[in-house]
């Protein structure tokens, strides 16, 4: 396959190049997570007419760094009654699941860490690894709250994967590909060519718009559930389950959970960006289009969706466990099927 990665061109030695390529997303992930934590603190505060962290650096911008410095120093407790190997392994597995997704996320047409042609499928497959970590952590903690949280989390993630996958599948139908790069390339040429407006093609695609819009919303909702955020934060619902599956974790292990949550938020936002909102493409056709701009557009779009998730979190109450299932199976799933059906029909007719 033709390599599209600029690192290979820069560094002749392949081993070093691969290492560099794998490290770049990690660095990005850490920087992003710090920003997202700060964003969460600040946006929640502003919504509530507060100021948020103000005393750590100017306007509190060093707050996440202080938190990391603190978490490193924190004692790492393992409860006596816990199953130690599983307890210690769980946070790394969750983090791994989130980090592995970054392998296929195309930041720019010249930087795709690993350009495999089943990228969408890969993201969904790897994203499910987190479930294993959650169950492991919840079960190994030997705490009733953790176990309840983990059980809920699994049920939730598995049921919401289906409507989410259906939504993404319709994009695969429109693009005729599972390759994230190809999906991106198929949306080139301005905002009207994004898949939310039906992708490239004649004006007849306007018929698809309502369905793609609904599908993008369905994916957004499903992604909220997959990342365990309000209104679907039942696994860690503070008012019921103390802190859910990570009740017993402290120090760096907890930080792993924390990082993984924010990394997952970015992954789902990135998938939404790639599939429906044009990925790295500029909304103005060829204006502001180019390798550098690619990164800018991609990250800013993804950030918008991250912020949307934060915004939703601080607006809505949380659902109950059976209602969550109801929404997943009886609302999102039928709607996603209907939309998928119509999009497939449209594709067939065209």
């Amino acid at each position: 396959m033709e390599t599209t990665n600029f690192v290979y061109n820069l560094i002749p030695n392949e081993t070093i190049a691969i290492i560099v390529i794998s490290v770049i997303p990690l660095i990005f992930l850490i920087v992003y997570a710090l920003l997202a934590i700060l964003g969460e603190l600040k946006i929640s505060a502003w919504i509530q007419e507060r100021l948020g962290p103000m005393r750590t650096g100017p306007w509190g911008i060093l707050q996440p760094i202080a938190e990391v410095v603190k978490l490193i120093q924190k004692e790492d407790l393992t409860p006596d009654s816990a199953n130690k190997p599983l307890f210690n392994l769980a946070p790394y597995i969750i983090f791994m699941g989130a980090y592995a997704s970054f392998a296929v996320i195309p930041f720019s047409r010249y930087f795709v860490p690993s350009g495999i042609n089943i990228g969408l499928f890969y993201i969904f497959a790897v994203g499910s690894i987190a479930v294993i970590g959650i169950v492991m952590g919840g079960w190994a903690s030997n705490n009733k709250y953790s176990l309840l949280g983990a059980m809920r989390s699994v049920a939730q993630i598995i049921s919401y994967e289906i409507p989410g996958a259906m939504a993404i599948l319709s994009v695969a139908v429109l693009a005729s590909s599972l390759d994230l790069e190809k999906i991106n390339i198929a949306q080139e040429g301005g905002i009207w060519n994004w898949f939310i407006f039906g992708g490239q093609g004649s004006w007849s695609k306007i018929w698809v718009f309502p369905f793609t819009l609904v599908l993008s919303l369905i994916y957004l909702v499903a992604s909220l559930a997959e990342t365990n955020r309000t209104p679907f934060d039942i696994p860690e619902g503070e008012s019921e389950l103390v802190a859910g599956y990570h009740t017993e974790y402290s120090g760096m292990k907890f930080a792993m959970f924390f990082f993984a949550e924010y990394a997952n938020m970015f992954v789902v936002a990135a998938v939404l960006t790639i599939t429906f909102f044009g990925g790295w493409n500029s909304p103005f056709g060829n204006f502001m289009q180019g390798p550098g701009w690619d990164v800018f557009w991609f990250i800013s779009k993804a950030f918008f969706f991250v912020i949307l998730q934060i915004w939703l979190r601080w607006t809505l109450p949380r659902l109950r466990v059976d209602q969550l299932m109801y929404v997943g199976w009886k609302v999102l799933l039928p709607f996603s099927f209907i939309c998928f059906l119509f999009i497939s029909l449209f594709k067939m007719i065209n």
Partner: protein
């Protein structure tokens, strides 16, 4: 065991780098304090008010945690009864080091208005767990909570992490006094 415990070994020499490093570590701990709110009585309502928009406790970099494992300090706000005391002890033991305790209000300080005839009131939470900062008031104003928080941050900042450095300081103190 966290990194802290490894760093706890005696160092050959505590230089500037070590000192700066320690300052950074202390800065981190002072600026990012997650708390376990132990709301018991009247002071807990003022505590909620202190968390609310007008006073905004989060400005100090404090985030509420529901579980003791992730908390850095515990804020005891209200009357500790004998029935409750054992649970506080348990929670304190569940917290991860380094941990601190702020006792807020007359009741938590020494039994407060209930010190004389309160047959079921623990006369001061410092009888069961160590207390680092006492905030007086019944209930204290929200700003007084924050004043206590500032005092705690000041205390953390001045803490010596490395045993060697502590020793050095003690020696210099002895020298100075001699």
């Amino acid at each position: 065991m966290g990194l802290l415990n490894k760093l706890n070994q005696p160092y050959e020499a505590g230089g500037i780098i070590l000192g700066t490093f320690e300052d950074i570590l202390n800065w981190g701990r002072a600026r990012s304090d997650w708390y376990l709110h132990f709301g018991l009585a009247c002071c807990a309502i003022e505590f909620m008010a202190m968390n609310a928009s007008h006073f905004d406790f989060m400005r100090f970099g404090t985030i509420p945690r529901a579980t003791p494992r992730q908390a850095d300090f515990i804020m005891i706000t209200g009357t500790v009864t004998l029935k409750m005391a054992e649970r506080i002890k348990k929670l304190w033991e569940q917290m991860a080091e380094p941990k601190y305790c702020i006792s807020v209000g007359s009741c938590a300080n020494c039994g407060g208005p209930y010190w004389e005839h309160g047959y079921h009131v623990l006369k001061g939470v410092d009888r069961i767990i160590p207390v680092h900062v006492y905030v007086p008031g019944c209930p204290p104003r929200p700003e007084a909570f924050q004043d206590g928080m500032i005092k705690l941050q000041k205390m953390i900042k001045e803490e010596a992490i490395f045993r060697k450095r502590k020793k050095l300081e003690e020696e210099t103190k002895i020298e100075l006094s001699a």
